[in-house]
């Protein structure tokens, strides 16, 4: 009998502890699948953030380092500069990479740091209970924008991926969602391309993954998926945002 589906070797055998309907588990499984496919588990080092995303270190069977909130890309820089032949990735939420860690995000991209960042965008601060994030949509109600996000007061939802596109050092940037089978398939391809951009020393790579947060959005998992597709995707458009071909572009 031929095995057509199994648990990725890189995924530790224990149940995900994320809320029902959250896509963290799905995103982490896809990363694990790609690590298996590229056979890089032995040489990969993950860097965790602070926030719901941090739990990735409990589920992926690779070495992990976790520092402070927003600092994952600085920590990853330190690791990569020490060990240039390892594969180093960070896995961060929108508060971590888009608010408190914005300086790090811009500068790893600009330096062409040879790391890969996965950015889970669920439009709220999840772990602290649903406050406004930099990616919260206009009109979206959160615990700290109870009347809805108002551009005059709170500014606009941050399109970090597009911002990082203009950095000369970024080589591959994509935004994906995991709400449909074909989208999951595309996401897996993007994750693979992002790792390859690092391995082939093309420069910094980032995959933004839109994820529902039914708990903090106050929706059923089903409604949350619908809301993501109807509200988030039109603003945070899916697809490959930057694919830089050609010679080595990353920092050594």
């Amino acid at each position: 009998m031929r095995v057509v589906f199994e648990r990725p070797r890189t995924l530790i055998k224990k149940p995900f502890t994320y809320c029902p309907g959250c896509h963290h588990g799905l995103a982490q499984r896809l990363i694990a699948e790609v690590i298996d496919e590229l056979d890089i588990g032995a040489v990969t080092i993950g860097v965790g953030p602070i926030g719901c995303s941090v739990y990735i270190y409990e589920f992926l069977n690779v070495d992990f380092v976790v520092g402070g909130h927003g600092r994952a890309q600085a920590v990853a820089t330190g690791i990569k500069r020490a060990l240039p032949d390892r594969v180093v990735f960070s896995y961060q939420g929108d508060g971590d990479i888009g608010a408190i860690g914005t300086a790090e995000a811009i500068h790893v991209a600009n330096r062409g740091e040879l790391i890969t960042s996965f950015f889970i965008n669920n439009a709220v601060f999840g772990m602290t209970g649903g406050q406004m994030a930099p990616t919260t949509l206009l009109g979206q109600k959160t615990k700290t924008s109870p009347l809805g996000r108002d551009a005059k007061v709170h500014g606009f939802p941050l399109r970090l991926a597009e911002m990082l596109k203009v950095a000369e050092g970024s080589a591959y940037i994509a935004r994906v969602a995991l709400t449909q089978p074909h989208l999951i398939k595309q996401a897996r391809e993007c994750i693979k391309k992002a790792f390859l951009a690092q391995i082939e020393k093309k420069g910094f790579s980032l995959v933004e993954i839109l994820s529902p947060c039914p708990t903090n959005w106050g929706m059923t998992p089903e409604d949350a998926v619908k809301w993501l597709e109807e509200k988030m995707i039109p603003y945070f458009q899916l697809g490959e945002i930057k694919v830089k071909e050609g010679d080595f572009n990353g920092a050594s």
Binding site: V75, T77, I79, A82
Partner: protein, 358 residues
């Protein structure tokens, strides 16, 4: 061995390379920028990495990542920059990651100015970050000690898996003195079996800066405290100087410790009998040894380039058994030998009745 005339910052940077430091992350700030400048050229020569970070915060977190891989790594800054690094220092302490952090102190608070000061005693010794953690703090008082203590700092960091701060000041950083670079000579250290390098064929490892279970965090904090007690037993260091019949014990660290040596010498000429107690490790602080000296001499004058920080630890050490007087200058003003002598004369003539602060 050959003596070389070197500026404090550059001597320290060269000592770091000789101590095996191969990675440096920093952000320019006066009066320590020559450390970065020197290492930007020197580290690549020995296969090392110099990276100028986008912020002080990023720099200390790059240190965190590099340290997790087992590399000897350093960052340096001055007052306001060290304030920004406190988040990272707290994380390095709980994650038990070794590193060396240099603080060439300038006047504070706020941006203050770029002149020499000792106003960062509290933020170095008491832990400017949050939580029950400690970092070893070494206080050099000459360019030669900048070299020797840099060697020692890397050794102690690895020995205890803990950050070590070298607390200098703008004076030490900027002045030139002849120095000797001896070979670093320390007992062998245990292998770093905790480092993160990718799991290879073995079990995976991880390093984090938290313990979400309260019982586990308490256990971890108590384990850290046992480590700090061990530092107190094994690493406490100080210098004592002066006659047995001294009537006044001068206490000062770093640059002030050096000025006080002149005070002891000059005082002797006019019959003012002083001894000097210079703490070399500010954490661990030599409480017991200082208490003994204070009891023996009878009166204590603490001199600092701040408005009274270490004096609090001196009073803790002395436990009220003898009076403790204080003389401080701030804002980049350096206490002069004559003004300290005048204070000493007043104390010995019983003209200072209060344990004055200034």
């Amino acid at each position: 061995m050959e003596k070389i005339l070197m500026k404090g910052n550059e001597a320290l940077a060269e000592a770091a390379v000789r101590a095996g430091c191969r990675m440096y992350f920093g952000y320019p700030i006066t009066p320590q920028t020559e450390i970065s400048e020197y290492l930007s050229l020197r580290l690549p020569q020995v296969g090392g990495v110099f990276l100028q970070a986008e912020t002080e915060v990023a720099a200390i977190n790059m240190v965190y990542g590099a340290s997790a891989t087992g590399m000897r790594v350093m960052t340096s800054s001055s007052g306001p920059g060290i304030s920004l690094k406190q988040e990272g220092l707290s994380a390095l302490a709980i994650a038990e990651l070794p590193c060396v952090v240099v603080n060439m102190v300038r006047g504070g608070p706020g941006v203050g100015n770029i002149q020499p000061a000792q106003s960062d005693y509290f933020q170095a010794v008491k832990g400017g970050g949050h939580g029950d953690y400690k970092v070893i703090v070494l206080a050099p008082s000459s360019v030669q000690e900048l070299v020797d203590f840099t060697y020692r700092a890397f050794y102690l960091a690895d020995k205890y898996c803990n950050p070590v701060i070298i607390l200098g000041d703008g004076m030490l950083a900027q002045m030139m003195e002849p120095v000797i670079f001896a070979e670093p000579d320390f007992p062998p250290l245990p292998p770093k079996d905790w480092i993160i390098q990718g799991k290879g064929r073995g079990e995976r490892k991880f390093i984090v800066c938290f313990a979400l279970d309260p019982q586990k965090l308490e256990e971890l904090n108590l384990k850290l405290q046992r480590k700090y007690r061990l530092m107190e037993e094994q690493e406490t260091d100080f210098e004592v100087l002066g006659e047995d019949d001294a009537e006044l014990l001068l206490v000062g660290f770093g640059t002030v410790g050096r000025i006080l040596k002149t005070v002891v010498r000059e005082g002797k000429k006019e019959g003012i009998k002083c001894a000097l107690f210079r703490p070399i490790t500010l954490f661990p602080f030599p409480y017991g040894q200082l208490k003994e000296e204070a009891r023996r001499v009878g009166r204590v004058l603490v001199v600092e380039m701040n408005l009274g920080q270490m004096v609090e630890d001196v009073r803790l050490a002395v436990e009220g058994i003898v009076p403790v007087f204080f003389h401080g200058r701030t804002g980049g003003m350096i206490p002069k030998v004559e003004e300290i002598l005048e204070k000493a004369r007043q104390i010995l003539r019983n003209e200072v009745y209060h344990e004055s602060r200034f």
